[in-house]
């Protein structure tokens, strides 16, 4: 049986570990600490935890002031509320101000499940990747989450880390070393490349396995950092495999697929397909049902790979 970890659980535990090592780590939450798991940090370091109530704009502003005074603030809420409820605060008080604020959000995408459309952030990556100087990361499992959280704490600059609600299969072993801005080849292949992030990395690996049974050799790149994007890995994949499929739990517009296609269009044009949400809002349902309804399964990825290969010159 595959081991599973909830990235947000890992986030909460990692915050506590970092809090023990570095007195400048402080944490803010907007009435969601039992869900974002920042409650662990509050329990151990109550004086360094700030519960701001249901007030995300103020949370980001306080975080920026703490950062300007030398602290390393981690501000957490759901992905729909940051950047959704506080984009201008993130833009002016954090990004334009070049302040060392870490925004770590949970419950992104349709895998939120039964809470429905209002709670399923499908636009956040487009917003966050539009901000100059921001580092934007979408970890694919619990192991990568722990490392990404440590990496953003060590990085001097504004960062956004997007986590999901459910437990995810563990796809990395303990020797894995996450690096900001670096893609990771999860599986080699020559006929096409799937570039995925977050929840869909495991599905991409499953799709590659299915394709292999039919003799299709599919490379899988995990792209945890959407900004700054690993251009070299994208160009290399395009040049070597000649077809690219992107897979993400996000609107097609403005997310991973848009970013990758911007690179391929300018540097190495190849046929592409986009496994993403197609300009609709989500709805209530079980995470697996929703992934299926919106075309975000391994089967959908495999189908997209076959389509791109057909279009190769």
């Amino acid at each position: 049986m595959t081991e599973e970890l909830a990235p947000r659980e890992v986030y909460g535990r990692t915050l506590v570990e970092m809090g023990r090592e570095n007195p400048d780590i402080v944490v803010l939450d907007a009435d969601l600490k039992p869900s974002t798991m920042t409650r662990y940090f509050e329990k151990e370091f109550p004086e360094r935890f700030f519960e701001v109530g249901i007030a995300e704009q103020n949370m980001i502003g306080i975080a920026s002031g703490l950062a300007a005074s030398g602290k390393i603030p981690f501000a957490s809420t759901f992905a729909v509320f940051a950047p959704g409820r506080c984009f201008d605060q993130i833009r002016v008080s954090v990004a334009q101000a070049k302040l060392n604020v870490k925004i770590v959000v949970t419950h992104a995408g349709v895998t939120v499940g039964e809470d429905g459309a209002s709670h399923q952030a499908l636009e956040d990556l487009a917003l966050m990747c539009s901000l100059p100087g921001f580092t934007v990361i979408v970890p694919a499992d619990g192991i990568e989450t722990a490392q990404a959280i440590r990496a953003v704490a060590a990085h001097n600059g504004p960062c956004y880390v997007r986590l999901c609600r459910p437990r995810l299969p563990v796809i990395f072993d303990s020797v894995y070393r996450f690096q900001i801005g670096k893609a990771v080849e999860m599986r080699s292949g020559t006929n096409a490349t799937v570039i995925a992030c977050g929840v869909l990395v495991a599905s991409a690996l499953e799709a590659a396995e299915q394709l292999a049974r039919d003799g299709v050799s599919c490379r899988v790149l995990n792209m945890p950092t959407l900004k700054p994007i690993d251009e070299a890995a994208i160009v290399k994949a395009a040049a070597e495999t000649g077809a690219i499929v992107t897979a993400e739990e996000h609107q097609e517009a403005g997310g991973l697929g848009s970013i990758v296609s911007r690179i391929t269009a300018s540097r190495q044009p190849v046929p592409m397909e986009f496994v993403a949400i197609k300009d609709v809002f989500g709805q209530s349902g079980k995470p697996a049902e929703l992934l299926e309804r919106y075309g975000l399964t391994a089967k959908d990825i495999a189908l997209a790979v076959r389509e791109t290969i057909k279009r190769k010159a």
Binding site: V26, E47, R48, F50, V52, G53, A55, Q57, N58, I60, G61, I62, A63, S64, G65, L66, A67, A68, S69, G70, K71, P73, D88, Q89, R91, V92, S93, Q96, A97, K98
Partner: protein
């Protein structure tokens, strides 16, 4: 002339007390700031004179009698922090920072020009002495609360001053921040509301009535002081009282006149965000001579 009662509250070696003698004539300083504001906005051809002119006495009192800072070391960790939440009043901040020696006076003539250190709205990344990037209203008090909390965590004794416009009290975030400052019992923070009664498109009472403002702040858990925002005596007295408030934040509601000091700008909505013409600059400077 100043009365003998004006003395810096804090005299730390190397702080502004050593830069400015207590004998500075604040009225003369204020007049210089006003002339600089008019001149730089006139030269730029755009900007917001009204809300800079209304805040001159507030900012002069803070920089010349209340706050400790080192112009040669803008990032000095124990400096008092001045947060300009009403970022469109950047000219009054630039004028006082020049007066204090953060950068040469000659830079004032570059306001709003390409590659200038003096951006149209305050930008912490390019101007020495500017703590926060502002211009989108309502964000400064939250930032100030963060600075105040950091000081408390670090056991530093600096104080944080946040200057808000009355118009930006329309923004919900201002009240989120107000609620949180009281909730966190932040008492190293003083907010000042430059209550000049005018916002971009009219009088605040007509756009969105903010009164009774004093009762709003009090209801949010703040100690409230109300002063004539052009009286150095009243401002100095209120800042002194505010720093003695324990266990809660303090706000000084400063009743001011938008465009103060220039007859045709006073209480004139047009000069919220319009530069004076060359002739108007000349007339204003005559009045401020």
């Amino acid at each position: 002339m100043l009365s003998d009662s004006y003395h810096p509250l804090i005299e730390t070696p190397g702080d502004k007390a050593s830069v400015f003698s207590s004998g500075d004539d604040l009225k003369e300083v204020a007049k210089r700031l006003r002339r600089d504001i008019i001149t730089m906005i006139g030269k730029a051809g755009s900007g917001h004179p009204g809300g800079s002119l209304s805040a001159v006495e507030i900012i002069t009192t803070l920089y010349f009698r209340i706050m400790r800072f080192k112009p040669a070391d803008p990032d000095w960790k124990d400096r008092d922090r001045f947060i300009l939440s009403k970022g469109h009043a950047a000219p009054v901040l630039y004028a006082v920072l020049t007066e204090c020696g953060y950068f040469p006076r000659s830079e004032l003539s570059t306001l709003r020009q390409l590659d200038s250190h003096l951006q149209g709205h305050a930008d912490r990344t390019v101007t020495h002495g500017v703590e926060m990037s502002s211009g989108s209203l309502g964000q400064g008090l939250s930032f100030a609360v963060g600075c105040a909390l950091a000081g408390r965590l670090n056991s530093q004794d600096y104080r944080v001053y946040a200057l808000l416009s009355d118009g930006e009290c329309d923004e919900g975030q201002t009240w989120e921040a107000a609620m949180s400052a009281a909730n966190f019992k932040v008492d190293n923070l003083t907010a000042i509301v430059d209550k000049n009664r005018i916002q971009l498109s009219g009088f605040t009472k007509d756009i969105m009535d903010l009164d009774p403002m004093n009762r709003k702040w009090a209801a949010f858990g703040w100690r409230v002081f109300e002063v004539d925002g052009h009286s150095f005596e009243e401002l100095f007295d209120a800042f002194g009282k505010a720093r003695k408030v324990k266990g809660k934040p303090a706000v000084i509601i400063a009743h001011t006149v938008k465009g103060k000091g220039v007859s045709f700008m006073e209480n004139n909505v047009d000069f919220h965000g319009k530069a004076p013409s060359a002739e108007q600059v000349e007339q204003a400077l005559k009045e401020l001579a």
